[in-house]
Amino acid sequence: MASYTLDVYMPVLILMGLSVGLFLVSVFAAKIIRPSKPSALKEQAYECGEDPVGTAWSNFNVRFYVVSLIFIVFDVEGALMFPVASIYRKFVEVGEGGVILGSLLVFISVLVVGIVYCWSKGDLDWVRSFQLSEDQVKQLQGAEKRS
């Protein structure tokens, strides 16, 4: 049954509360029964027996930014399609599906153009080649000769 008031979220909140309770009990309250003998050696970061060198908080590989940018574009477009998709069946049943189908296809074709563009730019390759292509090499050699 469809629900239009906010109190349908009550079980969600109760479950979240239960998860917080479980966490507090099992991690903090159970401190009473577990041993605690910290030492400097024990608290080192684990690096297979070597002394850790420096901190782990360093620069990210730029690939991760590209992936998250592509993800945001696709996820937002997916989210925007949900309302249209959920009324499509009703429109088909009364024989007016063409309107929704048309708008869906236009929208999806934008997504397809997006993924084709990313693909041709090489943004979908995790290992991207930075080697110069033969044309670029010829161009550079030509520039060197001229100079």
């Binding site: 998860s19 099992s26 159970a30 690096e47 088909v92 997504l111 693909w119």
Partner: protein, 395 residues
């Protein structure tokens, strides 16, 4: 019609009497309090069952892997080692808590909590039967996709806050993998939304039938491909092998939870096993007929009319059958997930990204367009109805 647990109980007289009694006792309208009590009790039961499922999941994982690799598996604690998960739990609670000296303490604590909260919040939507669903949100699958990405945040936070290089690498891999595979899963869910005409799991299940040819997986060729897209995406979202790169034990020690010990690690593991169950349940509700029982046994009308049972008994027998149908299918899918884990080798990071962006996403978009056109061309009939009409009109 799919109801939340509270609406289901409201049909019975005893529930109304209990509300009236409470109202008299407290002197105010007690229906709100009663709702809270019912939801609280149901949530508590579901959390306990799910903790049990998570625990037995670890046991099943070891037993099945032992079976596949011709080993014994756990066999010391209890009959056939079935109490192994309790022993593990006790061990984890008793373990010393080690805080890495360089860790970001608040975030280090927050990460397992976020994983647990994200998974528990999705439990509210699992449609066990037409009466035993905590709540049948009308934005069901949208909510589920949103809330379950809290787990991705938890994986990344866990990796970041530990301040260890293994954890950091695992966390970054986990974050990029989880968000990438969300795209094909979202588009596949969109396909089912097109077919069912609603975003709630109630709408998903109620538009399917009990027999396999009425399930969405066999509705038309596109949904058949879509099921496998969903399954692969689901494996990657839950960091299960062959996509367990965030915790690849042979290269990253233990990935994002390298520095976690004791109960914090235990909560990560619990959240992961419950998430697998929830996503298997989503797959079952979306593609495999959900809680539907063949021949309409689930509504209980047959028991009431033919056998002359009282209405309450008949309805509740139907509910039990529905829960049985849902749980059987979900556990079968859970078995498949474990089977896949112990059969396929782990794939490389670049292969993970290639599979997601170059195969699954275009395939999911193709399915979406295919289903939309199929529905327009055949008035939302399934392939069996279309074939049946073609054969009957040919004569």
């Amino acid at each position: 019609m799919s109801l939340s647990i509270n609406e289901y109980l409201n049909q019975f007289e005893a529930h109304q009497q209990a509300i009236a009694f409470l109202s008299d006792f407290l002197g105010t309208d007690a229906s709100g309090i009663m709702t809270f009590l019912v939801f609280g009790a149901a949530c508590f039961i579901i959390v306990n069952i799910m903790a049990l499922v998570g625990g037995l999941g670890t046991y099943a994982e070891r037993k099945i892997s032992a079976d596949i690799q011709l080993r014994q598996g756990p066999n010391r604690v209890g009959p056939y080692g079935i109490l192994q998960f309790l022993a593990d739990g006790v061990k984890m609670i008793m373990k010393e808590d080690i805080f890495p000296a360089d860790a970001d303490k608040p975030l280090f604590n927050l990460a397992p909590l976020l994983a647990l909260t994200g998974v528990f919040a999705t439990l509210a939507l699992v449609p066990f039967s037409s009466g035993f669903t905590l709540v049948n949100l009308n934005m069901g699958v949208f909510f589920l996709i949103g809330v379950s990405s809290l787990v991705g945040v938890a994986v990344f936070l866990g990796g970041y806050a530990s301040n260890s290089k293994w954890s950091m690498l695992g966390g970054m891999r986990g974050a990029s993998q989880i968000i990438s595979y969300e795209v094909p899963v979202t588009i596949t869910a969109l396909m089912i939304v097109l077919l069912s005409g609603g975003m709630s799991f109630g709408a998903f299940v109620e538009t399917q039938g009990g027999l396999p040819h009425e399930w969405y997986i066999f509705h038309n060729p596109f949904t058949f491909i879509g099921f496998f897209v969903f399954f692969v995406g689901m494996l990657a979202e839950t960091n299960r092998a062959p996509f367990d790169l965030p915790e690849a034990e042979s290269e990253l020690v233990s990935g994002y939870h390298t520095e976690y010990t004791g109960m914090r690690f235990g909560l990560f593991a619990l959240a992961e096993y419950i998430e697998v169950f929830v996503l298997c349940g989503v797959g079952v509700a979306a593609f495999l007929g959900g809680y539907k029982v063949p021949f309409d046994l689930g509504s209980g009308a047959l028991f009431i009319d033919k056998l002359g049972l009282p209405v309450i008994v008949g309805k509740n027998i139907g509910q039990v059958l529905q829960v049985g149908s849902f749980v059987t299918k979900t556990l079968a899918m859970y078995y498949l997930v474990i089977w896949v884990r112990w059969t396929f080798p782990r794939i490389r990071v670049d292969q993970v990204m290639t599979i997601c962006w170059k195969y699954l996403t275009p395939l999911a978009l193709f399915n979406l367009v295919g289903v939309a056109i199929w529905m327009y061309a055949f008035d939302a009939h399934s392939i069996w109805e279309v074939l049946g009409q073609a054969f009957s009109s040919g004569h």
